[in-house]
C-alpha cells in the first residue's frame, strides 16, 4: 500500500517520462510528432494494397479486420519487449537516484498505451471517412477492453523488466516469444479456422479474448461478449499483483546488478 502511494506521489515523474518518450521518439525528423499519425496511416495503406491486390482473402475489408487487431497487439508486444529493457536502459538513473523503480516500466507501458490511443484516432478517422460507421454503444466498451489490456501489459512488463536486470538474455528471448505469440493469437486470421484440438490453448491466451473484443467493437460493430473478457481480466489482475510483488523483491538489488 505504501509503495502504491509512493508511486502515486511520483506521478509527475511518470508524466514527464511519458512526455519525453513520446516527444523524443520522432525527434529530429522533419514531420516530428506528426509521424505518430502518419505511421499507422501509411501502414494501413500498405495492408490495403497488399491484401486487396496480392494476397486476397475471403474476409471482407481485411485491411480493417487486421488493423483493429494489430494496433492493440503492437501495444502489448512493445510493452513486453521494450518494457523488459526499460530498467537496464535507465541504469544511470537507477544507480544514482532514488525513486520507486516501478515508475520506469509504468512509464514505458503508458507511453506505448498513449501511442496506441493516438493510432486509434487514425482508425476512427478511417472508419468514419470510409462510411463504415460506428456503433456508439459498442464503442463505450472500448475503455474497459483497453484497461484490461493495460493491466495485462503492465503486469508482464513489471516481471520482464525486473528479471531482465538479472538475466539480460530475456530481452532477446522475448523478441522471439512475442513473435510466436502473435501467430498464436487470431490477429491475421479468424479464430474460426483454428483446429478444434488447439482451441483450449487459444482460449488460455488472454490476448485472444482481448483482440476478439477489439474486433467486435470496431469491425463487427457489436457489443462484445464481456464474459470472454473476464478471464483476461482475472489473468491481468493475477499478472499485475504477481508482477508487483516480484518487482518489489527483485528491485532491492537493482543498483548492484546494473
Amino acid at each position: 500500500m505504501k509503495t502504491l502511494k509512493e508511486i502515486y506521489d511520483y506521478r509527475q515523474m511518470i508524466f514527464s517520462l511519458v512526455k519525453k518518450d513520446l516527444r523524443g521518439r520522432y525527434k529530429g525528423s522533419v514531420l516530428g510528432f506528426m509521424w505518430t499519425f502518419i505511421n499507422p496511416l501509411l501502414q494501413l495503406v500498405v495492408y490495403t494494397v497488399v491484401f486487396s491486390l496480392i494476397l486476397r482473402t475471403d474476409i471482407e475489408r481485411y485491411y480493417l479486420y487486421l488493423f483493429v487487431a494489430l494496433i492493440p497487439w503492437i501495444f502489448f508486444s512493445a510493452s513486453l519487449t521494450g518494457g523488459s529493457a526499460s530498467i537496464v536502459a535507465q541504469k544511470d538513473l537507477v544507480k544514482k537516484i532514488y525513486f520507486p523503480r516501478q515508475v520506469i516500466p509504468i512509464s514505458y507501458v503508458t507511453s506505448s498505451f498513449v501511442n496506441m490511443l493516438l493510432s486509434f484516432i487514425v482508425v476512427f478517422i478511417v472508419i468514419i471517412f470510409s462510411g463504415e460507421g460506428i456503433n456508439p454503444l459498442a464503442v463505450l466498451c472500448l475503455p474497459v477492453i483497453m484497461i484490461v489490456e493495460y493491466m495485462l501489459a503492465l503486469g508482464t512488463a513489471l516481471i520482464a523488466s525486473a528479471v531482465t536486470v538479472y538475466f539480460r538474455d530475456l530481452e532477446h528471448i522475448l523478441g522471439i516469444v512475442t513473435m510466436a505469440w502473435m501467430y498464436m493469437t487470431p490477429i491475421m486470421y479468424d479464430k474460426s479456422i483454428v483446429p478444434e484440438r488447439l482451441l483450449p490453448l487459444f482460449n488460455l491466451n488472454p490476448m485472444t479474448h482481448i483482440i476478439g473484443c477489439y474486433r467486435d467493437v470496431l469491425y463487427y460493430k457489436t457489443v462484445p461478449q464481456l464474459s470472454g473478457l473476464l478471464s483476461s481480466f482475472i489473468l491481468g489482475t493475477v499478472f499485475l499483483v504477481a508482477g508487483h510483488f516480484l518487482f518489489l523483491k527483485l528491485q532491492r538489488h537493482f543498483a548492484e546488478e546494473l
Partner: protein, 423 residues
C-alpha cells in the same frame, strides 16, 4: 516534528557486495561455465549504527572504499542493507547525482520539471517553486534556451538549484559541493545553513574536511566498514587526520635502498680533473671539486628508520656519509631545506655553527639531529653539501631528495612557531 527527535536511525546495518571474477550474465555462459561464476564476497559494511536528530548536520568521513558512500546509498534507498534496519522520517532528497534526467534538447525550464519530478514533486509543487529555482540558479536570461547550449557551470547551477529547492526533511549530499564558481558555492552553503536552521537534517559525505568542520555539528568516521569514532566534528576530524598520517608514515616507512638514491638520476660527469674552482659548474644539481665526496645521506625518523616522511615535531637525524679523496685541513658540512619551487626555508653548516671538522678517516659519517622538526605539512627538498673552509664546493648536492611532512596541525606556512594566546 519537534527538535531532538531522531529522524534517522541506522541500526546495525551490514552490506556485502559480490565481486565477480568473470561474470557471465548470458544464458550460455551461465549454463556452460557454471563454475566460472566465481565471485568474492566483500563485506563493505560490517555493522554500522548511528542516529541523527532533526536539524543536525552530520558528516561521514573515511578514506576511499571505507564504506561511507555505500552508507549514503543505503540511506537514499538506492540499495538495501543485507541485515539491520534504517528508519528515516520525512521526505528525502539527495544531492548525489546532479541533473538526473536532464535532456539536452529541452529548455532549462522544461528540465526543471523533469528533474524535480524525479525527486517526487508534483506539477503543482514545481509550479510553486519554479521562480525560486530560476532565481537561485541566476539563469533567468537563459532559462528558455536548450540545456545543451549551457556551459558546464550553468548546467550545474541549474541542477543544484532544483535539488536544493525540493524542500526535503532530510538532505543527503555526496561530494558535490564543488559546484560552479566560488560565489555560487558560498551561496549554496548559505542556503544549506538556512535550510538547516529551518530544521532540515543534512548528511554530507566528503573528503573536504574543512567543509565538515565548518558545517557539521557531528561527524562519523568509518573505517573498513565499521564506525571508528563519532562525536563533535573537530574531534573526529583530528582523530581521523592523526590516523591517516600514521597510516601514510607506516606505508612509506622502510623504503628500499633505491629510494635513498638521489632524485637526479643522470650520471654526473666525473669532474676529477677540475682543480680550479673557476671551472665549477654551479648550475648543475651536483657540483664540486670532489676532494671529498658525499656517498649518501640518510634521513632517520624517531624509530631510526631511513624514511622520506616525517611528522611535525618528530625527531629527524640526517646522516651524511662521506669519502675523502684528497685530505683537507677542514671540512664544512651543510644541509638545507627547500620548497619544491626552490625557495630556501632553512640552511646551516658546521662552520656557521662554529664546529670544526677535521678528520683522518677516509670514510665517515656526520650527523645532524633535529630534535623537534618544526616543518609543517607539505613537500620539501633536501640539499646536502660539503665545502672547504673557504667555501669552495667539494661536493654540493642540490635536490638530494624530496621528503614529506605530515601534521595534524592546521597552521599555515612552513614552520611551526611556538606561541600562546592571551585573551
Amino acid at each position: 516534528m519537534t527538535k531532538n527527535e531522531t529522524v534517522i536511525d541506522v541500526k546495525n546495518i551490514t552490506k556485502k557486495f559480490k565481486i565477480y571474477m568473470d561474470k557471465g550474465s548470458q544464458l550460455k555462459e551461465r549454463l556452460l561455465f557454471r563454475k566460472r561464476n566465481r565471485y568474492e564476497e566483500r563485506e563493505v559494511l560490517k555493522g554500522i549504527s548511528f542516529q541523527v536528530k532533526k536539524g543536525e548536520a552530520v558528516g561521514l568521513i573515511g578514506h576511499n572504499g571505507c564504506g561511507k558512500s555505500t552508507t549514503l546509498k543505503l540511506l537514499t534507498k538506492i540499495m538495501y542493507p543485507d541485515s539491520g534496519e534504517i528508519i528515516m522520517k520525512g521526505r528525502i532528497s539527495s544531492l548525489i547525482e546532479l541533473g538526473a534526467g536532464f535532456h539536452p534538447d529541452m529548455s532549462g525550464r522544461e528540465n526543471i520539471y523533469t528533474n524535480a519530478s524525479i525527486f517526487g514533486l508534483t506539477k503543482k509543487e514545481i509550479d510553486a517553486r519554479l521562480d525560486e529555482i530560476i532565481a537561485f540558479s541566476e539563469l533567468e536570461e537563459f532559462i528558455d534556451n536548450p540545456v545543451r547550449t549551457y556551459s558546464s557551470g550553468m548546467y550545474m547551477r541549474l541542477a543544484f538549484s532544483v535539488a536544493i529547492n525540493v524542500d526535503a526533511d532530510i538532505l543527503l549530499i555526496d561530494e558535490i559541493l564543488a559546484v560552479g564558481d566560488t560565489n555560487f558555492q558560498t551561496k549554496c552553503f548559505n542556503r544549506l545553513r538556512e535550510l538547516k536552521a529551518k530544521g532540515m537534517t543534512i548528511i554530507i559525505v566528503t573528503h573536504d574536511l574543512a567543509t565538515i568542520e565548518k558545517f557539521c555539528d557531528r561527524c562519523v568516521w568509518i573505517n573498513n566498514g565499521l564506525i571508528v569514532h563519532e562525536g563533535r566534528s573537530d574531534e573526529v576530524v583530528d582523530a581521523y587526520l592523526n590516523f591517516m598520517n600514521q597510516k601514510k608514515v607506516e606505508s612509506e616507512t622502510a623504503p628500499p635502498e633505491e629510494n635513498s638514491e638521489p632524485v637526479t638520476e643522470e650520471p654526473q660527469p666525473e669532474n676529477n680533473d677540475i682543480t680550479d674552482n673557476n671551472e665549477i659548474d654551479y648550475s648543475a644539481n651536483r657540483f664540486g671539486l670532489k676532494y671529498v665526496e658525499i656517498k649518501k645521506a640518510e634521513m632517520l625518523n624517531s624509530e631510526n628508520k631511513n624514511v622520506r616522511i616525517f611528522r611535525t615535531g618528530e625527531r629527524l637525524s640526517l646522516k651524511i656519509h662521506y669519502h675523502v679523496n684528497k685530505p683537507l685541513d677542514e671540512y664544512v658540512f651543510g644541509f638545507g631545506f627547500y620548497t619544491p619551487e626552490g625557495e630556501c626555508l632553512y640552511g646551516n653548516n658546521t662552520q656557521l655553527d662554529r664546529i670544526k671538522v677535521n678528520t683522518e678517516k677516509t670514510d665517515g659519517v656526520v650527523s645532524v639531529i633535529i630534535g623537534n622538526l618544526p616543518l609543517l605539512a607539505g613537500k620539501y627538498v633536501l640539499n646536502v653539501a660539503v665545502v672547504d673552509s673557504d667555501g669552495t664546493p667539494m661536493d654540493f648536492y642540490r635536490n638530494y631528495c624530496e621528503f614529506e611532512v605530515v601534521s595534524e596541525s592546521r597552521n599555515m606556512g612552513y614552520f611551526s612557531i611556538e606561541h600562546e594566546w592571551r585573551i
